[in-house]
Amino acid sequence: MDNAYVLELIADLSKAFGETFYMIAISLTLSLLFGVPLGLLLYVTDKGLFAENRFVNAFSGLAINVTRSTPFVILLVLVLPLTQRLIGTTIGPIAASVPLSIAAIAFYARLVQSSLLEVDKGVIEAAVSMGASPRMIIVDVLLSEGLPGLLRGLTITAVSLIGYSAMAGIVGGGGVGDLAIRFGYYRYQTDVMVITVAVLVILVQAVQTFGDLFAKKFDRL
């Protein structure tokens, strides 16, 4: 390995890193913005809860299931017209963030719902008995008590997104995973593949460790 080769690899890697970071930051932010309300909607419209609504519950559940059961590679291609309309192009990390965000929102909404289901019903009942408004029950009880679970879910979503973002290369999204496929697989540069996979392992490990620490900090047991 000469110096030029190593320098080029470092340049490629840092560019790919930047792209991955972009895609994940955008889709993780959007999954927080939309996934939390969607998960809450699923929870509060469920049977026996204060905003019980079978139609809304069934419809949002179905929308999530359809998104989640579509293989990501296919979703990637399916939403191309939408991406074109929203971003004006279908190429690049920002364009790839559209399908990634859609998948992440659906994924995270389910995790939000399941962590809300873990919240002790007695605590909710206590809040109701004290005359708390639905808004207070959502903010001060559900989101507050569910926070550790919401953070763990966000970590899981981030790790899945790192995996999904590798597929984004198909629509020209770039990123670390894409680098591994292009150099390592198509060009038989095993060393590049090994390095990128190692980088991905470190990245996932870092995200998981950081997420766990954060969740633990807010879990006041």
Binding site: D120, G122, V123, E125, A126, A127, V128, S129, M130, G131, A132, S133, M136, D140, V141, S144, E145, L147, P148, F218, D219, R220, L221
Partner: protein, 335 residues
Amino acid sequence: MINLQHITVTFADSLHPVSAVTDVSLKIETGEIFGIVGTSGAGKSTLLRTINLLQRPTGGHVLIEGTDITDYDGENLRKLRLQMGMIFQHFNLIHTKTVFDNVAFTLKAAGVGKTEIQERVPPLLELVGLADKTGAYPGQLSGGQKQRVGIARALANNPKILLCDEPTSALDSDTTNSILELLKDINRKTGITMVLITHEMAVVKKICDRVAVMSQAVAVEVDTVFNIFANPKADFTKQLIQHSNNFSLPERLLADIKGKILRILYRGGGAEEPVISDTAQKYSVAVNILHGQIEYISDLPLGVLLVNINGAPAIVEEAISYIKSRVESVEVLYG
């Protein structure tokens, strides 16, 4: 006053509907500590929950200070609940919030402003003896301390009614006593009406003024605590009392006994008079105490004695009628 009129709660199950409460009518006076006692599954918790409509009755009416609240919903119901506090067996605190914020939650629910919350929470924590735990999280507290936070939280909006759902059932006996003392103290200081559910007669004895005994969805007996212990009428109540005062005598004693065994029940002032020694002096009979207990319920003495009385049959009869004239009741158990 809380007036429950013909309350029925049926849980709709597609196969067989279960009746948790069947036609229960109760009047709970302002300022009293009213107990609802019964075994688990008797429907007492469901009945309690109809008072703040956490459980809507399927039949009957709930009247509070004369107003029928049975059909309240939305904002009306929320406003009504602000005037009632509730504490729970498992405390149900928000474990991601500090002690201060748990208490502040109730005030916030009532729309109290931030500066006023800062002023009102500390005296509440002072009242329940947790002034030093302001910044602690529930996970760092003992069971008794958690219940104290629950009490402070429930009292924050100065409610007129406090509903207590098995408040001491998850606590050890020392802690139970201290929580009951605290509740009684609060009742005396503020005149708040308390409705308390428990499965332990000891809890009823300790703090309640009146009690409803529930068995299989029905209130079988309602009376003052003293009368429930002194003179239980329903069979189920008798069973409950027997569990709490066990007066069985060993077989060996019964085999060797001469004369009669009497069960003497004292109540009120009679328990403080020396009836037994008077009897022994007045009649030539031997009186031997086998078993006994005097308790003070609502500050009134209630005593049960098992005595062996022996002598000439005619004199024994005379002595028995003398004792009868001095105490609540005498029952010949043996001989």
